[in-house]
């Protein structure tokens, strides 16, 4: 059911009305062409929500089995106790064969169902091979307009660690003691350095201390190799040891998150804008491939243009639509008249 008045609907979302939020999330998941105009309109009207501007978007990623869902649950509960409202987007992979998915994150979470300050939506990656769900970006925007902090939790396989950067202000990489692969990826510069590193399942002291030391080593190697250059300058990635099941280390994690959010304040706008540009171009590339990029004068030109148009009030989805139209128009121009 399309709501009759988009403005009123956006207001309800910003006032954290769960029914309206759920409806908005259903809408941004809707892939039908005829719905895209409404999606763009909704996102545009949520763009300048006070919560969206002031709030914090946290991406939680890492290999399967490190306890991300339990950590998300513990983190969200701790934030709620501090009075922070929280929206969670939990992303799980879809089955390649059936297209279906088992969204099991809620099974590891325990929340008070009557809590108006917490909202959890599970999303399936739905064909975005290895990547963040199609709607995750938009879903984060919807929740960010309603809650103080939004946590996006993704299984870190393949593309999604990179995708999560587009949408998160702070990227938290979660590993467990003995995650050799992650160390190797970091050292080799295959993996971007996250803003915060968490060693979860740090129940056993000796193992956890060892893991933290290993990570410090890997970070130094990566930085020496020049992998640490980033737009936010002098941020030093903290390493936090947590045990989500025992609730230890959660205060330290929240403190690190707050510190990073503060550190970002001057550059936040740029960071989010960069993410939006990447998102818009990603959407466009997924639709039209390299040929699309080439037709619109190459990647560099496309990036500059995306940044300009976003400054003029477009949002990534509407921008993508706009670029699509232009691509189609140019194709028609260039193709010789058929007689």
């Amino acid at each position: 059911m399309p709501p009759s008045d988009p403005g009123a609907e956006a207001n309800r979302v910003m006032n954290a009305d769960k029914t309206a939020i759920s409806r908005a999330l259903n809408l941004v998941e809707d892939r039908r062409t005829e719905s895209q105009g409404r999606v763009a309109a909704l996102l545009a009207s949520l763009e300048d929500a006070p919560k969206a501007t002031r709030g914090h978007r946290v991406g939680l990623t890492g290999p399967p089995g490190v306890g991300k869902s339990t950590l998300t649950s513990t983190l969200a509960r701790a934030m709620r106790i501090r009075g922070t409202t929280v929206g969670v987007v939990a992303v799980d992979p879809s089955s390649v064969q059936s297209g279906g998915s088992l969204l099991g994150d809620r099974a590891r979470m325990s929340f008070d169902p009557s809590d108006e300050g917490l909202f959890v939506r599970s999303l399936a990656t739905a064909g975005e091979v290895g990547g963040l769900a199609y709607a995750a970006n938009s879903a984060v925007r919807v929740l960010a307009s309603a809650y103080d902090t939004v946590v996006v939790e993704t299984t870190g396989v393949g593309q999604s660690e990179i995708d999560v950067v587009h949408v998160a202000d702070t990227v938290v990489l979660v590993i467990q003691p003995g995650s050799g692969d992650v160390l190797q990826f970091l050292k080799a510069g295959i993996m971007e350095i996250p803003d915060i590193l968490v060693v979860n399942k740090a129940d056993q002291d000796a193992l956890a201390r060892r893991a933290v030391a290993d990570l410090q080593g890997a970070l130094r190697t990566a930085q020496t190799a020049g992998a640490g250059q980033r737009e936010d300058g002098d941020w030093e990635t903290p390493i936090v040891a947590t045990s989500a099941t025992q609730g230890t280390g959660i205060d330290a994690l929240i403190e690190a998150l707050d510190r990073h959010r503060e550190h970002l304040a001057p550059t936040l706008h740029t960071r989010r804008r960069t993410g939006e540009v990447r998102w818009a171009i990603d959407l466009f590339t997924r639709k039209h491939g390299d040929h699309g990029v080439a037709t619109l004068d190459g990647l560099r030109e496309l990036r500059d243009r995306a940044a300009r148009e976003l400054d003029r009030g477009q949002n990534p989805l509407s921008l993508c639509e706009h670029l699509s139209d232009e691509y189609v128009a140019r194709l028609c121009q260039n193709s010789p008249e058929k007689t």
Binding site: M1, K18, T19, S22, R23, L25, N26, E29, D30, R31, R32, S35, G65, D92, S94, S95, Q97, S98, G99, G100, S101, L102, L103, G104, R106, A107, R108, M109, S110, F111, P113, S114, F119, V120, R121, S122, A124, A126, T245, Q246, G247
Partner: protein, 668 residues
Amino acid sequence: MAPSGKRERDKPWIMRTYAGHSTAKASNELYRTNLAKGQTGLSVAFDLPTQTGYDSDDALARGEVGKVGVPISHLGDMRALFDGIPVDQMNTSMTINATAAWLLSLYVATAEDQGVDPSVLRGTTQNDIIKEYLSRGTHIFPPAASMRLITDLITYTVINVPKWNPINICSYHLQEAGATPTQELAYALVTAIGVLDAVKATGRIPESEFGNVVGRMSFFVNAGIRFVEEMCKLRAFVELWDRVTQERYGVTNPKQRRFRYGIQVNSLGLTEQQPENNIIRIVLEMLAVTLSKDARARAVQLPAWNEALGLPRPWDQQWSLRAQQILAYESDLLEYADLFKGSEVVEAETQRLVESAWTEVQEVLSRGGAVEAVESGYIKQKLVESNAARLRAIENGEQIVVGVNKYTEGAPSPLTENLDDAILTVDPRVEEQQIEALEKWRAARDNAAADKAIAELQRIARTDENIMPASIAAAHAGITTGEWAHTLRGVWGEYRAPTGVAGASVKTSGSGPAVEVVAELRKRLSDLETRMGRRPKILVGKPGLDGHSNGAEQIAIKARDVGFDVVYEGIRVSPEQIVASALEEGVHLIGLSILSGSHLALVPEVVDRLAQGGLSDVPVVVGGIIPEADAEQLRTQGVTAVYTPKDFELDAIMRDLIDLVDRQHAAE
């Protein structure tokens, strides 16, 4: 041979009937009747609130009080349960796990009140909390705290109640969760190893006396319809346990290495269709655990023929008891030595199971042992996969189930002419009466003494001292089951176990009708997705305290495999939580699974809350052991469809669900 020329008969096993319902008083009457009929031991079934540490008046207990067993909220209930039954002469088995230390405390306190020295008590506490994370689901605390409770109870009884079986390692429920014979053997053994290692680590038992602990370990096993393989499985158990106790724990006394087990034969394989056939299945399954003298059960309890329909009546239980008595007393079975010693066929099958189970034991130990393999979800995922394979074999006819997927035509059964009379129904006023009695109990007790006992319990929980003495003192001080568990929850926290479904891989065979059906369903869902704009999404919910999650898990996996997005929240979710999740997740359909018999209380609450939350257009379907009269009532209360154990074709259920979403979409 005996002097008369007749062979000397072996002593028969202990015969029990798993029983308890409504109230302590009603259950006491039932026990007395059963004992008068020749039953030789008691097997107490507790209701779900008691098993999961809630008082009868807790909000979470609503609809569950007295349903699957007897509610025991305090010492007064335990006294009433054994009123007129001398506990020093009883062998009492209690199916209790997370709250085992508490229920034993109440039993010890009852004995003391009867003037009985607790050291003479005989019986069993199930106390295998590890398997609760894998099947059955009545765990409360995180694994480390659960292991501490297990070892506290064991070290207490080995010293103070030496004839007590402090733990029944349960492979029974593993089989119900889908375990193959190999898995049943392996996971029971790794659990036993985990427990014994933990007892050793407490340092409370001197090395020289560790054999006493090993000798008190007992098992609770399952036997399915493949009774020859099952019999070999039990022979394999005997051999493997002898190996573990000798090699790992250095026990030299052969008596302490004996594999001691009780059994309940497989309720899972009992059918709703032609239910009278179940008595034949039950008898065959009983043979598996009685035929070989060298691997014979010490205690046998049999389900009733009509368990797939609802709660059995006294007559139904009597029929099962008679089956045991005929085998033990009429037949000549107990006159012979082991029948299969030297049989090449039996020995070969036994060795096959010994070897495959030992390989899996090593696999789990290499993953850090039972507790690690529970926390990582490894074992659970293996069980979910096996169960999916089993159901698929029944669905496509590879495994014949008479009256279900073959030989389904038959004359109507006079036994089920009036279905609603063929099961027992619990009086709905029981809950009210139990709550009233509980309020009176709290009002009458010395509250200062109760508070003091709770404070002491809390203090001990923070240390590594044994919880038992403080629990027994608390029982005498009149604290309640809910207070005991709540105090410990406050110190140790609660735990939600891995569901095993997300990672479970389900093999679909290359071709054949089953594959075509799945392909057709997948196509319908993609078409629906195109029309609706997003993929149809369903919520699979398990409201109430019932932790039997097989049905919910298999529906969730199947739904994923035909292409639904499936939100599965695990067990013990309140109706309020289900409705909140349905709203936040934007689902198109809700499926609820309830096996405890509390559907009439829980399902309407979900439906009502959906309506209040503006979600009345989301269809609700229900699956469980639901008598037809109840199903009819649920349908009039707004439930769209009700599925029972006779609906074994998951593909057909999936087709219904897709139809429902399709119709709902068309209506919008």
